[in-house]
């Protein structure tokens, strides 16, 4: 596999393989659904297989700018200074692996769920994959923006054509919300661009006089030179773009609609990957480029995150629809991610990044599971179910693992992420951690209550007596996710190792004095401490369980 260290454009291959697959699929007859499904699965599988070696060839110890690896640079629009620039650090690598894996699972899980216009469906799914991977790879703002917007279109169609009852409303809402945020972000990008080059004479903003460029890494170097006031406004632009995508508390209203109306695979991709693009945007762009802006807006964002955590959890508690419940739980979980990030210390950020992956895996799994019963019963109302544990034991077990992972039970992935976040947040301000802990307790409450209503009790609805347990294909989509939950829950060290350098880099950018004040902490210690405190938290959850 000399490909991965010899300058071969492996990231481009991974990015554009789904696109090429989508184009080839145009030539398959649309009646031949079998061939379409097989072909799409093969493309997604090859893409995943190609992305896995990245994990092994990635140099975890590279620090500073060298941590951006597998670099590809070519000129694209020289007259604007736009480069075709790809490169990933540990954070992007994990997200790309998540994307390729979830992409494969999404394709594979749609075999029976999608019963009309299959060809278009798989083409759009593959196009979406190209857009998402491109977002994580791009190191040029222009290129990033292009991928960011490109991915809107296939998602719009996925929700709009194969969605539920109110699919048109949900699709347009999703599209417009995200677009509105991202066009404002474009203005922030432009402001950065002009600050780096010619300046904005009219506003008395002197430029640095560099050659016009959209190079993200260059912006990383010059960002702190921007006056705090301008940083505030630029950050606000980024904040709108990313916060809508995350989504943070007041901007979250598109999410329940989109999640609920989207087809199962669409919800899985939305939850697992698309939401991460917002948080990824913060850690890759907003934080390191605009340290002053970050600190000025830290308190409002932390406040919104805490509101999001508690609000999301409370709203989940009262949901009657399973999918909606999982959707609102995303608001709560993403609040955790944002809270950890804005603790602005290595521990909080590590937990935040890891929690992005965890949420992708757990919530993705929950959506898949909800999709399985929905496909058979065509309802997602919790009241329609009950006692499924007897009828579908395998399903009940998988659901339990996913739910426990989502609520943060020790020995599963959610715990590691949430606990690391709590440590980091407590380091910054103990009261934030207290509020966040309330969110964890509520999270346990709504998930366990859901589990109780759906799986326990008498199996009295006759319609449920004919439900079939998970079949082999469904099991195949779920097992890798369960494996990941357990892997991260038991041995998170490789993951922490992967994100250590990027996180230190970001903290160094945001708070240059941090490492002088604080002794450097290592992720392995965090994991040990996490294990030590696990029993205490398990006790709390047992309490709630009762």
């Amino acid at each position: 596999m000399g490909f991965y260290d010899s300058g071969f454009p492996i990231l481009s291959v991974i990015t554009y393989l789904p696109l090429a697959g989508a184009l080839l699929m145009l030539f398959i007859n649309k009646e031949n659904t079998g061939a379409i499904k097989t072909f799409a699965t093969i493309v997604a599988a090859v893409d995943f297989v190609l992305s896995v070696p990245l994990w092994f060839y990635f140099d975890r110890k590279a620090a500073g700018l060298a941590m951006f690896q597998f670099r590809e640079t070519a000129s694209w629009i020289p007259s604007l200074g736009v480069k075709y620039s790809f490169g990933i650090d540990g954070i992007a690598l994990l997200l790309i692996l998540l994307t390729t894996m979830m992409g494969l699972i999404a394709v594979y899980s749609s075999y029976t769920a999608i019963d009309h216009r299959q060809k278009e469906y798989y083409i759009l799914l593959l196009l979406l994959q190209t857009g998402m991977i491109g977002v994580f790879c791009a190191l040029d703002f222009f290129l990033f923006y292009v991928f960011w917007e490109v991915m809107l279109v296939p998602m719009y169609f996925l929700i709009g054509i194969w969605g539920g009852q109110r699919r048109l409303y949900a699709a347009i809402k999703f599209f417009l919300y995200t677009l509105a945020g991202s066009v404002v972000m474009l203005l922030s990008i432009l402001a950065l661009y002009f600050f780096n080059s010619s300046g904005i004479p009219f506003l008395n903003i002197k430029g640095l006089g560099n050659a016009p460029s959209f190079d993200v890494l260059q912006f990383h170097q010059i960002g702190h030179l921007i006056s705090p006031q301008l940083q505030f406004w630029i950050f606000l632009g980024f904040f709108l773009g990313f916060a809508i995508k995350v989504p943070m508390f007041p901007f979250h209203t598109w999410l329940p609609d989109a999640h609920v109306e989207a087809p199962t695979a669409g919800s899985v991709i939305l939850a697992a990957v698309l939401l991460k693009m917002g948080t990824y945007g913060f850690v890759r762009f907003a934080l390191p480029i605009l340290p002053d802006g970050t600190r000025q807006l830290m308190i409002p964002i932390v406040t919104l995150s805490i509101i999001g955590i508690i609000y999301g959890a409370l709203v989940s508690l009262v949901q009657k629809d399973m999918k909606k419940l999982v959707a609102y739980s995303s608001v709560s979980h993403l609040g955790f991610v944002m809270l950890g990030m804005f603790a602005l210390n290595p521990m909080g950020l590590r937990g935040s990044v890891l929690q992005m992956i965890n949420h992708g895996i757990s919530t993705g799994a929950l959506f898949l599971l909800v999709g399985i019963v929905y496909e058979q019963r065509h309802t997602r109302l919790i009241s329609e179910y009950g006692g499924l544990a007897k009828q579908m034991p395998m399903y009940a077990t998988l659901f339990l693992i996913a739910a426990l992972s989502s609520m943060g039970l020790p020995a599963l992935n959610g715990f590691i992420g949430e606990f690391t976040i709590l440590l980091g947040v407590a380091n910054a301000n103990i009261w934030w951690a207290v509020f966040a802990a309330v969110g964890i307790v509520l999270g346990a409450a709504y998930l366990l209550w859901l589990y109780q209503r759906v799986f326990w009790g008498p199996l009295d609805n006759p319609a449920n007596k004919v439900l079939k347990d998970v079949n082999k294909r469904e099991l195949l989509t779920l097992l890798p996710l369960v494996a990941c939950m357990i892997w991260i829950g038991i041995a998170p060290a490789p993951f922490f190792e992967m994100i250590e350098q990027p996180v230190d880099y970001i903290v160094q950018k945001v708070d240059p004095g941090y490492f002088k004040r604080q002794p450097v902490t290592y992720p392995s210690e965090a994991a040990e401490r996490a294990a030590a405190v696990s029993s205490a938290l398990a006790a709390i959850q047992a309490e709630v369980h009762r």
Partner: protein
């Protein structure tokens, strides 16, 4: 004035001669052979295009070469627009084929008027004196009035032509009054002389009023708020190919004039007029987009969308910097092709009237005409400025120009409104892809197919490989930007 000078006029001479020949043909017995008119017109366009390209070799370079006593100039800027006009007219010719054969109107005169319009547009692009620009604009306008009323048997068309004519004449008078005030103050109608006169003045109310009247007249042509009221009625009433022409070629010519006049003649007074134009631009974007949302008639929707696009393009004038001028050029090109593609699709649909009118006509189009539906999505995304279509590149330039010029608030209005615009563009996408049901019949003639394919190619190529067009635009506009006073 030498023979070489006359050669510079060759494209215009060819267009005018060709137009006159087209007029004579039916008298010589060509009436019966109406279908030949299309080919004659296309041949004329090809020869004109060759002459335009040839005229650049005659001046050997891109520098401005005013000739005929500084009334007329052939430079890279004018060549860019003239080629664009020729292509637009050629595509409108292709769009008109079915309309003329189905409605049985006299074809030769129709094409002749189109060629005269082209002639006027070319004089507008090449005019470096206000009088040449004015008379070129009038030639275009008069041809457009007649063409807009070509549907003589339809009351709507006659009404539209009447409305267009009366409002157009009033706006021409306003424009002319502005020109006369400017002439009075500066003592010349040459753009360069005006610029020189302005640079020695501190402030002059009469001149400012003249500039405002001039801007108002031009805003009518580009359909900017509050001079936009004619647009929806005319686009709906006029024969559909002519609506396509009015929303693309006619506007592009007005923008060529807008850009040249303001960039060459008035940069010294930029601070004074930019805020007024900024208000007009903001109003156009807001009113155009919000009004478009409520429309159910596609032509009306396109009319309001065209009003909003006039607002976006104005950003390039207001910014008064390199980026802005390039933005106007590239955005005009991008907008023209996306719009022509959309009109081609509308022409393809048949229901009650001649062409697709209501959003419902687009229902389920992806089944009946997958290529047209797909192209339509690309065009709509391009109008909405979603990458990787050409529209994004165009909007990028305009927004960047506004940010660079310090018009941050205007840029915010522009981006928010371009997000809003996706709302009604998506309604068509919804109808085509997400709704089932019976839409209008489709008749997809080879000509329409060709227009769609060409527009699609341009829209995607400019979106994916923007370097080449951008470089062309820089080359075509750099000599005008040299005069901009950089503050």
């Amino acid at each position: 004035m030498t023979w070489a000078d006359t050669l510079l006029l060759l494209p215009e001479l060819i267009a005018a001669t060709g137009a006159s020949i087209l007029l004579i043909v039916p008298v010589l017995g060509g009436r019966a052979r109406g279908h030949m008119a299309k080919w004659a017109m296309l041949a004329l366009m090809a020869v004109t295009a060759l002459a335009v390209i040839g005229s650049t070799y005659a001046v050997a370079g891109v520098q401005q070469t005013p000739t005929f006593r500084a009334m007329f100039a052939v430079d890279a800027f004018s060549v860019f627009f003239k080629l664009l006009f020729v292509v637009v007219i050629a595509l409108v010719t292709l769009l008109s084929e079915d309309f003329l054969s189905e409605e049985r109107y006299s074809t030769w005169e129709y094409y002749s008027l189109l060629a005269f319009a082209l002639c006027g547009m070319m004089f507008m692009a090449s005019g470096v004196s206000l009088i040449t620009i004015y008379i070129g604009l009038e030639l275009l306008a008069l041809s457009s009035y007649i063409l807009a009323g070509y549907y003589k048997n339809h009351e709507e068309s006659t009404e539209a032509a009447m409305k267009y004519f009366i409002l157009g004449t009033v706006s021409s008078a306003i424009l002319l009054y502005g020109i006369s005030l400017i002439y009075g103050v500066c003592g010349s109608m040459r753009l360069s002389t005006i610029a020189a006169a302005l640079s020695t003045m501190l402030s002059n109310d009469a001149l400012m009023f003249g500039i405002m009247l001039l801007a108002a007249g031009l805003c009518f042509k580009i359909a900017a708020v509050p001079f936009h009221v004619w647009t929806p009625d005319v686009y709906v009433g006029a024969p559909t190919p002519i609506s396509a022409f009015l929303s693309t070629g006619s506007k592009a010519a007005a923008f060529a004039v807008f850009a040249r006049v303001f960039y060459v003649a008035f940069p010294a007074f930029h601070l004074d007029w930019s805020n007024v134009l900024a208000a007009i631009a903001a109003l156009s974007m807001i009113v155009g987009n919000l009004a478009a949302i409520t429309q159910t008639n596609v032509k009306r929707m396109l009319a309001y969308s065209s009003i909003s696009h006039a607002g976006y393009s104005l950003l390039g004038i207001i910014a008064m910097n390199e980026m802005g001028l390039r933005g106007i050029l590239i955005y005009t090109m991008v907008y023209v092709f996306a719009n022509l593609g959309i009109w081609a699709t509308i022409l393809m649909l048949r229901r009650h009237a001649y062409a697709g009118e209501s959003v419902e006509d687009f229902r389920g189009l992806h089944k009946r005409a997958p290529f047209a539906a797909f192209s339509m999505v690309v065009f709509l995304l391009s109008l909405g400025g979603i990458p990787p279509t050409a529209g994004f590149i165009g909007k990028y330039f305009l927004f960047a120009a506004a940010v660079q010029a310090g018009f941050g608030w205007l840029a915010i209005v522009a981006v928010v409104m371009s997000a809003v615009s996706m709302f009604y563009y998506l309604r068509l996408v919804v109808a085509m892809y997400l709704e089932e049901g019976s839409g209008a019949e489709t008749i997809y003639s080879p000509s329409l197919r060709f227009v769609t394919a060409l527009s699609l190619t341009v829209t995607l190529v400019v979106g994916f490989i923007p370097e080449l067009p951008i470089r062309q635009v820089i080359e075509s506009s750099s000599h005008l930007v040299g005069r901009v006073v950089q503050r």
